[in-house]
């Protein structure tokens, strides 16, 4: 018998186990009725989607901005150096 057959036998035996009974009805209703957990309102959902969409746009935009900046940094420096006499 290999290791997996042993595990499978063990699992088959374990499946016959009785699960302890729980009754969470009162606790759950208490949490919900006392307002400790509230579903999102339509407005909150809308804001959530807007935030997600804004993040989805912001990340590629930041990446593009960084690439553009690194590409144009060289020519910009040259221009600054060329007119540096004006600063002095």
């Amino acid at each position: 018998m290999n290791w997996e057959e042993k595990i499978e036998r063990l699992a088959a035996r374990a499946q016959a186990e009785q699960t302890p009974r729980v009754d969470v009805t009162q606790n759950v209703l208490h949490i919900l009725l006392s307002g400790q957990a509230q579903p999102l309102t339509a407005a909150e959902r809308l804001w959530m989607w807007l935030a997600a969409a804004a993040s989805a746009v912001a990340v590629p935009a930041a990446a593009c901005a960084f690439i553009l900046y690194t590409r144009s940094a060289g020519p910009l420096n040259e221009i600054v150096e060329a007119i540096s006499w004006a600063v002095h």
């Binding site: 290999n2 290791w3 595990i7 186990e17 919900l32």
Partner: protein, 212 residues
């Protein structure tokens, strides 16, 4: 605009569900009625839903924690989470399946938090080899077998443990595991293969003479 959006969400949420294949004439319809009443703010309807489904949810979560206090808290979390996302339930699948998915997510999250907090106690695998020697597994009491298997799988990373628990204890095939975890079928297959290899290595490293 907000009011119109809220009205639209409500209208969609309260519409009659498309019956799923094999939908029982009574239980599915009863569940759906209670879901609708709960959405309309009727706590008694949610009480009935909890009473009908807490045993099946508890059975799933017993695979995730065998500590009675933690187990009860996890069952509670599932029903709070289910209530908060009840608008997302469209009645196309049995409520039991939907709750099983939430239960799996809650249990997995618990394992991940636990793994971050502390390492599990090392477990002597030779002990299990003795206990599950040829033909001895069937002689074990079911709760001892479950405890032993729980301890073995607790040595694995949460992701590996999840696929192995669903495979061995919940008897889930690839499709069912994908449905419960929200992973793709390919991901489930790959994850299962890796988890099985890691479990085999773990057993081999323990020095237990398992390959007979």
């Amino acid at each position: 605009m907000e009011a119109a959006l809220a009205q639209w969400v409500r209208a969609r949420a309260d519409s009659t569900p498309v019956p799923y294949r094999g939908m029982p004439a009574d239980s599915g319809a009863v569940d759906w009625d209670d879901v609708r009443l709960t959405r309309q703010g009727e706590p008694e309807a949610y009480r009935r839903l909890i009473e009908r489904h807490q045993d099946s949810v508890a059975r799933i979560l017993w695979r995730f924690s065998r500590d009675r206090g933690v187990h009860e808290e996890l069952v509670q979390d599932v029903f709070v989470e289910a209530y908060l996302s009840l608008r997302g339930y469209n009645g196309k699948a049995p409520l039991d399946h939907w709750l099983a998915r939430i239960a799996t997510r809650v249990g997995y999250r618990y394992w991940k938090e636990k793994a971050r907090r502390k390492r599990t106690e090392p477990f002597d695998l030779e002990e299990w080899d003795e206990a599950v020697g040829d033909g001895q597994a069937t002689a074990l009491e079911p709760d001892s077998a479950a405890e032993l298997l729980h301890q073995i799988l607790a040595q694995m990373a949460p992701r590996d443990r999840l696929v192995l628990t669903l495979r061995y204890l919940e008897q889930c095939d690839v499709v069912e595991t994908a449905r419960r975890t929200g992973w793709t079928k390919t991901m489930v297959k790959v994850q299962t293969l890796r988890a099985r290899n890691r479990l085999r290595k773990l057993i081999e490293q323990s020095g237990a003479e398992l390959i007979q």
